[in-house]
């Protein structure tokens, strides 16, 4: 049985508490701002082949051209493949992935786990796999591996992500007061990875480097 009864009771309680909105029936339709409506449109169009992706692709081509020109000018063009682009929107960035994978076949393998951490949660689907680790001091880190076809949005408001090239892989690292997130694409599987947590940045980077 497990959590069956508890789950069913929670569903019933949620409906009992939140599904009755008859008090709002006679209220007028809210007048949302254009900004809000554009935001919803953007969310809804986050679909492969949709308008948003075509626009992103255009921006991507311009950025690739600019970056290649810059690299050539600096004489550092050494057949290095750019795998991730961050397209700055001012209050956030769009992450676009150059090399893509459609599915995941393997789970997450960690070659380095800091001492005292143990696995607390694991999730797996055809497109995404996650693992979460904790220690007794309240420190944690999460790893996500997923098919990388979709790109995504990153909130980079007030934050400048750093890029580090280690063993031919480009890691995008961003930290603030609450923790650090590191994103990269695997050279072997083309999967997209995200390690985040409240550990020291270098410790998280070691986890990232030894993750497959």
């Amino acid at each position: 049985m497990g959590a069956d009864v508890l789950s069913a009771a929670c569903k019933r309680a949620m409906i009992g508490l939140y599904a009755d909105t008859s008090g709002y029936d006679g209220m007028p339709e809210p007048e949302f701002s254009n900004e809000f409506l554009q935001y919803i449109k953007k969310l809804a169009s986050h679909v492969r082949g949709g308008k948003y992706r075509r626009l992103t692709k255009t921006a991507k081509i311009i950025l690739i051209a600019a970056i290649l020109a810059l690299l050539a000018a600096l004489s550092v063009f050494a057949a290095k493949e750019l795998r991730i682009l961050l397209i700055d929107h001012g209050v956030g960035s769009y992450l676009d992935v150059e090399k893509r994978s459609e599915t995941l076949s393997e789970g997450i393998t960690l070659g380095y786990i800091p001492e005292g951490f143990s696995l607390s949660e694991e999730y797996s689907s055809a497109h995404v796999k996650t693992k979460s680790y904790y220690n007794s001091d309240g420190l944690f880190f999460n790893i996500m591996k997923r098919a990388s076809y979709g790109g995504g949005d990153i909130n980079t408001e007030g934050i400048i992500p750093q890029r580090k090239d280690i063993n031919g892989i480009e890691y995008i690292i961003s930290s603030d007061d609450n923790g650090t997130v590191i994103i990269w694409i695997s050279a072997t599987t083309d999967c997209l990875y995200d390690v985040n947590g409240n550990l020291d940045e270098n410790e998280l980077l070691q986890i990232a480097i030894h993750c497959e």
Binding site: V5, A44, V47, G138, G151
Partner: protein, 180 residues
């Protein structure tokens, strides 16, 4: 920590579901958020956050017009509005208070609840303090992970775990009291 939102909606089917959810429930969600914020702009901001989480977790939604979906959406709007208010009032949630106040007391196994009537159990859940009830509902009714709930509610993940455990302990105590 920066938020990382990966391809929130992947398929045309999910896009259609998101659109139905938005068209059907935006008004009720807006007024649920407004009830908390008492300000149109803040309610709109809360709804932006709510729809982002809904888009990210669109796979958690079955029938977009069902009562369960409606309840989940209103809960999401309500939670995002409260999270926004906490931020604006610069209240650094109650994580620290929580840590000090809760000394564990032993986990309650899920199977413990199997012998109780679902309706009776749901009434006890409804009576729980909201700070414990909301993580419990998201965890057991919608199957969110501790990490996802933490992100949604603006709490630390260990706090979410403690609140779920405490909710179960409070529930178990209430049920045992009824038995006695």
């Amino acid at each position: 920590m920066i938020a990382f939102y990966l391809s929130v909606i992947d398929t045309d089917e999910e896009k259609q579901k998101f659109t139905v959810v938005y068209e059907t429930w935006r008004k009720a969600m807006y007024y649920a958020a407004l009830k908390v914020t008492h300000d149109h702009g803040l309610a709109e901001d809360a709804l932006q956050d709510a729809f982002l989480y809904i888009a990210k977790n669109i796979r958690k939604i079955g029938d977009p017009r069902s009562a369960e979906t409606k309840a989940y959406l209103i809960l999401t709007a309500d939670s995002q509005a409260k999270k926004l208010l906490r931020k604006r009032r610069e209240i650094i949630d109650s994580d620290l208070v929580e840590d000090a106040a809760w000394n564990g007391g032993g986990d309650v196994e899920d199977a413990f609840f199997d012998r109780f009537d679902e309706e009776e159990l749901s009434r006890k859940i409804e009576a729980l303090p909201e700070e414990y009830r909301t993580p419990l509902l998201l965890f057991y009714a919608k199957g969110f992970s501790g990490r996802e709930i933490a992100e949604m509610l603006g709490l630390k993940e260990p706090t979410v775990r403690k609140r779920v455990e405490r909710a179960k302990k409070l529930l178990a105590d209430a049920l045992k009291n009824d038995d006695a």
